[in-house]
Amino acid sequence: MKKLEVVGIEKSFGSLHTLKEVSIELKDNEFVSILGPSGSGKSSLFNIISGLSIPDAGSVFIEEQDFTGKTGRVSYMQQKDLLLPWKTILDNVSIPLLLKGIGKKEARKRAAGYFSSFGLGGFEESYPSQLSGGMRQRAALLRTYLFSNDIMLLDEPFGGLDAITRRKMQQWLLQVLESLQASILFITHDIDEAIFLSDKIYVFSERPATVKRIFEVELPRPRNNSTLTCEAFTRIKEEILSLL
């Protein structure tokens, strides 16, 4: 089933043509990456999907319903964790539930249930400044998940982390996803990351961004360190490199 479908999106900012006929499809329980150079308008695409900005042309369908320009259905996560520094981790993560009209006590209780599987156990009452970068990103991911647990938009979520933490986070993400049943649209400019995580990769061109090619990644799951060095992995990587 199609979870999310983006059809023929066009967007310009003044004379700057950012997105050109972008169409993307995300199936149920699928991990799809958008790979492209920085500044190619990938983030503007996310703003359109989440409803924050309206495309000049084209539509966004979520479960076959038109959601173009409507907020409140899917949320996104960025490179910056955007946790509120004045709230504890538990309160931060509960925000999406509060916004949905769930009572504070119930929201906190529900959010707390996910803390150990997100590797945040014991840090419920800590403030964001007391956590490491990796933990803050995990908290931000949990917040995104609690808002829209079927579709998540992740915009270079590990871009700000060091290489080692980043690798760990990628493996952790795969692990966690196995139990979460979520469809994910993931922006990155790291080729390895895209191949390692995805079922499908959309390679974007430079501005104006358009879909250059779609790769199906048929690497077996669960994936681990040996995936990174296997032949199929290198083959896809070579193909993508020749394209960029």
Binding site: L52, G72, Y76, P96
Partner: protein, 259 residues
Amino acid sequence: MKRLESTSKVIPSSIMIMILLLWEVASRRSIDLARMLPPPSEILITLISNIQVLWQHTRITLFEALTGFVISIILAVLLAILMDGIIIIRNALYSILITSQTVPILVIAPLFLMWFGFGYLPKILIVILVCFFPITISLLEGLQSVDKEMLNLLKSMGATRFQCYKLVKLPAAMPNFFAGLKISGTYSIMGAIIGEWVGGKDGLGVYMMRVRHSFAIDKVFATIVIISLLSIALIKIIEIAEGKMMPWLQLQKQKNMEE
């Protein structure tokens, strides 16, 4: 860390003690000087022996200052939120607010007295006039400097305007708000004193005028001591409230120090 903190307190207090000692010795050696600048010990004695009278007046001044201060806070919060939310109001009010601060208080105070009589009202109005401005401006600045991405995230999750203020904008502006409060806190006592100075029945400002006219310089100084203590106490209370309301800020500061 600990040592740094204790030395940072020792140095200013030892400088204070040195100045007081120097003052004491100098004014004890010269009678002419003592007439204009009584030694600290004598000021202290005057303060203690007149404490009842002083307290009567302090109560009044404190009442005027605090009433004005609280009204200023309410007024400032309303103004800042309105100015932040509605551009037309911001543009319209900004220059009016600035102009309100260019009017010299010493000129306006006697006018207030004529318009509103000798009671507490004109004093409270002067306190409001000097206090609301720093709070409004700092709160407004805080509200406008909020991380746009944070707001966008909340909006993407369907937050209403009210929820954006409650969850992000107001808490983010808190440090600015408290900075404004500290400035206004000291102004509030000064404002009340100036109001009383121009005319009234009681209050520290009235008392100070009275003792000055009778050349009781030691009593003038005793009043100054009280005024300073009141201002310091008010600032301390605001600082304590700040720490209580923003425990996260303390943690961030600690972290910055460690790095």
